[in-house]
Amino acid sequence: MGGLLKEIYKSRTLYLFISPFYILFLVFSVFPIIFSIYLSFHKWDGIGSMSSVGFNNFNYMFHDPNFWQAMINNIAIWLLANGPMLVCALVIAYVINLSIVKFKGFFRIAFFLPNITAMVAVVIIFQSMFGNEYGLINFFLEKLGLDKIAWFNSSTGVRVVIALMIAWRYLGYNAIIYLSGLQRIPKDLYEAANLDGATMFQTFTKITLPMLRSIILFSVMMSTIGGFQIFTEPQVLAGNQSPYPGSETIVLYMFREGFVYQNYGYAAAVSWVLFVIIGLISVLNWKLFNKSDD
């Protein structure tokens, strides 16, 4: 015990270094977290008084087909958007980083542009692009003699549109993440590989991927967490009511229950279930991508 105290005393500077986050956490998050746990066992309309309902909120949730539908939509959108996007982002980052590529700065900003375009505009643009009757994409499809696609009439169509929106917004973002990872790989490693006559593919799998592992773990973790918290894209595209099939995600479901229907207690319960799900998947990710350093 005395040894531990001594250790702690020895590490006092380190505790000081990490303290800002935890001080902020104590001040701004601890009470809200406890409050929302408490809330998940109550019925509350946000203004009036609360009444205790035990496990009713959780019970209702597990029997609500809308909740499960939201879960399915969410997982579908997440997989559709993130899998292909992360792979593409990695390829793009790798290519931009090649020594033969000119105008690196231009490409970097061009791919990042979608991420810095405000959502207000993104919605109007995507609605105009994917309209069933007057969408730009259907206009071109018709020009090419193809059939129009009724994007908003099937859950698959809607999920594809939302996934595209997410992929579009975050492709360059993730490419920049990978790019900063690539830039810390010493050039001599590549030069040595070149001298040994390695192909581009070999250098990619033998040098780039292993050196990038911790960064890939970061991007996978973040897109998992982000993927289960998809909210803005479907909300702005379809509104809080999500009248289109397949557009409702869990956070959207939670937001509507809380802020539109005034079931704050229920919304809190949903958010804690969501927390557990994200936690479980994150642990899985961690184990999968992080074999060596933990």
Binding site: T13, V27, D45, G131, E133, N153, S154, Y261
Partner: protein
């Protein structure tokens, strides 16, 4: 070593900021509690929240001139759901925000918390009650009419917007007068639409738009006065059936987004729709290529109401008396005319409907005087009892209607599924 002490200093500042920030600022809070802030130049400070298009800027300027002893701070906030979210959070957090707040048709959800608002009957609101449309006034009062949380601003009577050129081409009723006399029921309207569609290929609004209009015309909604669910009964089912019938006859524009509807309007694919008075601006903005071809008429099946706003005073206000004088002035009949001129907010004070200032001949509508139609519609509005759970029910039903259109779901099955879902929601 120097760097180390620098960090420590920085972190110390952080800690001080995070912790003593409380002490320092609660001082401020308590001083404002003493009413200190108002001591500044002896003026009464009133903060007002509204959104772009709720109240005319010229009216606010007029109020500032009229009450020199009041420092009126009018804050224009983002509109719609965001406004409601901010208002609710402020009330949940115990008020301490604005004195005067603007409210939209969601006022019914605020009525359940009437104790958070000043009872305007105590401030003498009975004296001006007769100036306003009765049905509108009552929307701001509790059902026993003892507590009034807000004064009416505008009403949003629903009328029929239609392309007179297309209707003329189809050889059916095409003037507002013909509509008023010949198109009394929804079936009359659907018959006309059928001819217009065959002749010109254009349709009405979506199946959901039709349902919403039908709903606005019945004097009962989803819940009765005791809060019992009646949304599965004949009055709702028949509105559902009529909407589905119109859809099945191919009369409705496919269920989709606003930008699709706007584009359809601009491209002559929508021949008519029923919409509230504020839709005037929508049509003009969305369909400039069709200028001069539109008219409005008394709608089939009677009029309904969609929207229209109110102004109330939060209980946390220190100057309810002064605040009341301000809102009384802002929503006085003469001042509402400015709002009508600026944004098309149709006043809720019938005495001015016939005034010459109200004449509103709009070139976009072939110089038809819109006010006469609105005045006609505003007086006949039927108001159904509202409930905080209306939104949920309405969303479930429109989602089901949308699935009938977009996914070709069987209408009876969609109705049954929606009702089941609603009842499960209500069972909690």
């Amino acid at each position: 070593m120097k760097i180390k002490s620098l960090t420590i200093a920085l972190l110390a500042i952080l800690v001080i900021l995070a912790l003593t920030g409380c002490g320092q600022n609660s001082n401020n809070a308590s001083s404002s509690g003493n009413g200190n802030e108002n001591a500044t130049n002896g003026k009464v400070k009133l903060k007002m929240w509204y959104w772009n298009g709720a109240i005319s800027d010229s009216t606010i300027e007029a109020a500032k001139a009229k009450f020199p002893n009041i420092d009126l701070q009018a804050e224009k906030l983002p509109s719609g759901g965001d406004f409601l979210t901010k208002l609710k959070t402020t009330i949940t957090g115990g008020g301490s925000g604005p004195d005067i707040v603007t409210m939209d048709s969601w006022i019914s959800t605020m009525l359940s918390y009437n104790e958070k608002f000043v009872n305007l009957y105590d401030q003498g609101a009975r004296d001006i009650q007769s100036q306003y449309l009765d049905w509108k006034w009552k929307m701001g009062a509790t059902s026993d009419d003892k507590y009034l949380i807000a004064l009416p601003i505008d009403v949003a009577p629903v009328v029929l917007y239609y392309r007179s050129d297309l209707f003329k081409k189809a050889g059916v009723a095409s003037t507002p007068e013909e509509f008023k006399t010949q198109v009394k029921t929804w079936d009359d309207y659907f018959n006309l639409l059928k001819k217009v569609k065959d002749e010109t290929g254009s349709q009405s609004g979506t199946v959901v738009d039709i349902f919403r209009s039908l709903l606005g015309q019945i004097d009962q909604s989803f819940f009765d006065l005791d809060g019992k669910y009646i949304g599965d009964q004949a009055h709702i089912k028949s509105a559902w059936d009529s909407s589905v019938k119109a859809y099945q006859a191919g009369l409705t524009f496919p269920f989709s987004s606003d930008s699709e509807k706007n584009a359809a309007m601009n491209n002559g694919k929508i021949s008519s729709f029923s919409g509230a008075s504020w839709a005037v601006g929508d049509v003009i903005a969305a369909a400039p290529d069709t200028k001069g071809k539109w008219n409005i008429a008394y709608p089939p099946g009677g009029v309904g109401n969609q929207g229209g706003s109110f102004m109330g005073i939060l209980k946390s206000s220190k100057y309810p008396k002064e605040a009341y004088e301000v809102i009384k002035f802002l929503v006085s009949p003469e001042n509402l005319i400015a709002g009508y001129k600026d944004f098309g907010n149709y006043p809720s004070t019938p005495e001015i409907y016939t005034k010459p200032e109200m004449v509103n001949e709009n070139a976009f509508f072939g110089n038809q005087d819109l006010s006469t139609v609105f005045a006609d519609a505003a007086k006949d509005v039927k108001v159904a009892h509202t409930d905080t759970r209306d939104d949920m029910v309405f969303n479930e039903i429109t989602k089901a209607l949308g699935s009938v259109d977009a996914q070709k779901k069987d209408s009876e099955k969609a109705w049954k599924d929606a009702q089941e879902q609603i009842k499960r929601q209500l069972s909690r």
